[in-house]
Symmetry: C2
Subunit: 155 residues, 2 copies
């Protein structure tokens, strides 16, 4: 069980989070020019992708401030079906961002713990994520260990 | 365009690859006790998961020996829809394995090039993968660069 700090709520992302999600994610990387309609259609697509057990493969959650409904943090655990490990499931934690107005309140750790528990409940044998070397210490505090090197090709 | 060595074919995985896929993947990690029926149902599930553009999200390919139909190598590019990068797509290269009887023929590089071209065609703005430090040199020869650290939690 994840302890949610006073004054905050964790819930699945919905169409109200259009501005808040964009602002938080802009702290992570390029977001681009998506409209509210684009945003809604991404959420609709995510809802449509199911695991063999009927649960959702894309699990994007926001931590919101109770009074203002502002998005303080956002993150995803996206679940992959494999052949290995007896047809096992792997969770991919992706696109973790904390709005700069809400830094220093340990919301990042709360969110990682929450997403990890979602992945575990879905039956993942492991959850993985890729991060900068400078964030390794943070993820270690969230009970993650170094597992390998992320390689990329960009187009 | 990827050049396929003489005597080999690249194609999407199918139910005939049950034994060959298991043998190749056993060189990578634990496969477990999956039956032909389990295998078929994983392939059926994979076929059912579509991207917003209607293309398949799971793209698992095998390189087979033309004469014997043996699986020489196997690998997947699994595509994720994001909010960032204008609702961009990211390809995840997963579960790359070359059967030990077919090592030293550069089939690993052929497969990575092939899967990368599939991901590029599908519109991915990047393709990522996680590997052991000892395989970094191999992936650099496949035009991948170090991007970060893979962290994991196991259950
Ligand atoms: C744990 C975590 O949040 N990792 C993120 C990843 O999910 C995100 O997609 C990427 C965006 O970077 P890009 O803009 O270079 O693709 O940055 C980080 O690796
Ligand atoms: C590029 C590549 O093939 N990387 C693989 C990954 O796809 C696979 O799922 C994992 C299995 O390891 P595990 O048995 O510890 O989960 O090994 C490697 O990281």
């Amino acid at each position: 069980t994840t302890i949610i700090p006073d004054g905050f709520t964790v819930r699945r992302i919905d169409s109200r989070d259009f501005d808040g999600a964009k602002v938080a994610l802009a702290g992570l990387t390029t977001v681009g020019e998506i409209s509210q309609e684009d945003f809604n259609s991404i959420l609709g697509y995510w809802d449509s992708v199911l695991l063999p057990n009927g649960k959702q493969a894309y699990n994007t959650f926001v931590i919101t401030a109770k009074e203002t409904e502002k998005v303080a943090a956002i993150g995803t655990v996206f679940v992959e079906k494999k052949i290995i490990h007896n047809g096992g499931l792997v969770g991919h934690i992706e696109d973790i961002a904390v709005n700069s107005d809400f830094r220093g309140q340990k919301l990042g750790k709360v969110l990682i713990n929450y997403l990890s528990s979602i992945g575990k409940q879905l039956g993942c044998y492991k959850i993985i994520l890729d991060c900068d070397e400078k964030n390794v210490g943070f993820y270690e505090k969230c009970d993650y260990n170094k597992a390998g090197i992320e390689m990329q090709i960009r187009y």
